[in-house]
Structures are given as structure tokens and as C-alpha cells.
Amino acid sequence: MFEDGSIINELFIERLNYLIYVVLLLIGLHAMIAKNNLIKKLIGMSIFQTAIILFYVSVGVKEGATIPIYLPEHDPHGSHASHSDGNETEQSNHGPVVLDAELVKGYSNPLPHVLMLTAIVVGVATLGLALALCLRIYQGYGTIEEDEILAKIEGQEMGTKPSVVVKSVDSSKPATSQSAKPASKPKGSSSPSPKRSKASPRTKAKATSPTTKAKTSGAKPVSPKRKAAASKSTTTGSKKSPAKPKTAASKSTTKAKPKPRAKPKAKPTARAKATSTAKKATASKPKPKTPKK
């Protein structure tokens, strides 16, 4: 139904709402995926949800129709003056009467409004819960920047062993930093590994992971050297700008490192992995710590 050239005018003039709703949706979606700060991600989430609500409300709009509340002449209870005898004698005054098609056009469509009351409240409930999560994350990791949290998590998972052996990356790490490859379907995964690759291009070229695991098409496992740099930067406390952990680590190495930093050359054979896991097993067994939950 479009002649040429009128698509632009159609989209920009008559239905600016639909275009603006798409723009807001994209802003929200991009913020949820790309923003580093957790609170910014939440603001992006709220913008994403309000954009969808804008779409629903603009579906229910009728040209020249009033709000979906009965005007006094259709009011089921009659004008309030005669409210007393309103409901006994239905017929005497204009009690509730079924409106014919002409009058229906006068009121805008109430159904999308009802649906959006629910969507707004669901949005606020999700926002409240996510803010509680931010508080817990801040308590646990002292930061609400996504990449600092990830560095801390890897630091904690690696730091649980007294003897720091550059444990070859087991795939649980790439699972957390699993980058969902942009398959033909748009990926929604906001997993942090894209951020990790943001940092790594500036550092040395990554060696492939020494584990025997075949390199999956999507997963970019982090090489031990990269791991050493990350753990060094975490142990010495990440600097103000975590974006460049490599340089930050070198600048901040002056502080005495608490853990002896043994960096045996990680031999990419299963044996290295076996010995490290065996050592890990012996290390973890004598201290029957409650399992890291």
C-alpha cells in the first residue's frame, strides 16, 4: 500500500510514535548490553520496557476519541443528581444501555491501557529486585562495574588455593566469560566476555587455551598470560580505570604482593592440568572449607 517515497513521510509524519518507540527500544537494548555500570544497565532496562509500553498505548489510540471513561450522558448511574432512584427503576432514567457502533467510535480502546498497567508494575517490581541485587553485589565485590566484578570473581575462584599455580583455564571460566557468538539470530546474551575482549586486544595476542578442550566456535577462553595479568591487577586492587588492567597492573606493582607469584611456564599438556588439579585436590582436601557457594 506504499507508493515509492511515501514510506519516509508515512513513518516520520503520521506515525512518529512507532519510529520513536523503535529508537527508544534500541537505546534501551544497547544500554542493557553495552553499559558497564550496573545501574546504567537498569536504566537501560527501564527505557526498554517503557518503549514497549509506548508501543502498546499508541496501538489503542483512536482519532478524535475521548478517554475510555463514560461521558455523563452514557453514565450507567445516570447523572448523580438522580442517583437515589438510579438503580431501582432501570428504565425510567437512562440507566446502563448498550452503546451502538457509532458511539463506540467516540471512546478510545481501553484494552491496551489495562495491559500496560500490568506492564508498568511488573517493570517496577523487576527494577526493585535488580537494585537489591546491586546492593548484594556491592557488598560482595565492592564495585558495581561489570568488568571489575568479573575480574574479582575470577580472582576469587583462582585465589581459593594457597599455592598459586597458574591453573590452566578450565572451561568454567569461559562459561562465565562465554561470549555468545553473534549467530544469525541477534544474541541477547549480555555476558561479560565481549568486555573482556575489549581489554585484551590492547594486550598481547591471546594464546589459545592450553586445555585439551577443543576450541568452541563461540567461546574465547582466556589464556593463562591474560589470566596472570588479570589476577595480578586484582590482587593489587584495580585502579580507577579498570579499562586498561595491563597498564594499571604494571603501574601498581609497587605494592608488595601478598601472594608469592610463582609463574611456572604453563605447559599446554593435559599433564599440567592433571598435576594442577591433583595439587588443587590435595590442597583443597586438608582444609575441609565449606564449599564455595
Partner: protein, 249 residues
Amino acid sequence: MKKLSLIPVLLVGALLIYAAEDFPEWGSPSAPASASPLSSHFISNTGVDTEVPNMVTAVLADYRGFDTMFETVVVFIAGMAVLAILKNSSGPNSKKKIFHIETEPDIIVTNTVRLLIPVIQIFAFYVLAHGHVSPGGGFQGGVVMGASFIMIALSWDLDTALARFPVERCTVVAGLGIILYGGIGLLSMFLGGEFLDYAELANIFPVSREMARYHAMLGVEIGVGLTVTAIMFSLYANLSTEGRLKGGL
């Protein structure tokens, strides 16, 4: 990395623009959504079925009342989940309070708020009760009432607000709201109709079937208002003090 994430975003955008050219005319009464038997039934028959002038409240509380019950349950879940997450939560950074200023509440603020609170709460009741005729209803009224308690917490301190509305009572009031909502549904089920079929209440109340729906909707709105008030205040109390319910904003 930011460029990398632009690809899926633009893919979704292209998808939505591709769909936009097939949308019906803007705001035309003949569009499928507006001309469907569903919405024309709501507009023409709300007066007859439920005698409620505000169609949105009628559809919200009666026609699609089951949706609204689960919406109230979602608010209840948000409150319980925040309580569950933050209760006796601890961690290396939780205890350091950066800027806890020990100042007693400001005179001007407290006196103006002392005058404002009753007005706000009366307005909240009005919004809740008058939801049938004017825009408003359970959610809006409940939030305004919750906001009045938050204002007490902001102007005095959280302990005075908690003295008036302790968090345990929040959970009980929220639960009572859902029990009131579900209870009306159950009552109408025991009287022979389906769940949430308010017309059956006419068997025990001396009103016509439509007026039974009218009054049942008011009862349901009160239930929603109770839950939303309690949960909004409990949400604020928990989030501003990391679950310790001391200090706060």
C-alpha cells in the same frame, strides 16, 4: 566492545522497522485492534455488565481480574524477594557507612511534612475509592499511600517511619491484601460461579448482579491498595538500609 554489541541491536531495529510498514492506519477506528469484537464489547457493554463508568478499571478488576491478581502477586513477590536477598546479608563492603550524618530532622521540613501527610493519605484513599469513576484505582492509590510513609522516613528518620509501619507488619498487610483479593474470588467460587465471578455475590448481598460486581471491584481494589502500599514502603526501607533497617537515607 560497544561497536560489537551494536550488531544485534541494529538487527532488532531493522526487524521492527520492516514490520512497521505493515501497521494499520494510525488511530483509525477500523484498525483490527480498535474494531475487534473484544474492545467494542468492552466499550459498549461495561455500563450494562458492571455499571462502572471507568472502562479501564472495569476491564482491569473484573473482565481481566485474574491478570490483576497475578499483578498484585508480582508486587508481593518483589517485596518478598528483596527481603530474602537483603536479609542478614553481609560482605566485606557492607558495614562501611560512608556518610551517615547524625543530624536531627530539620524544623521546617518536619512541620510542613506534618501538615502534608494527612492530605496525601486522604488523596490516596480518594484515588483508590474513586477509581471506578475517575482515573485511578488500587495501584495508584496504594503507591501514593506508600509514598506518604516514605516521606515520613525521609523527613524524620527511618525509625519513626518504622515505628508507624514496621516491616513485619508490611508483610502481614501485603499478605492480607492478596488474601482479600483471592478471598473475594474464592467466595464467588463457593457460591457456584467460576473463580473471580463477582456476580455470584448477589446471592448473599441484597444487590443486583451488576451492583455486586461494582462493589466486589471496590473490595478488590482495596486488596490491591493494601498490598502495594505495604510492599512499596518495605521496598524503600530495605533498599535504603541494605536490609539492616537502621540509618537509611
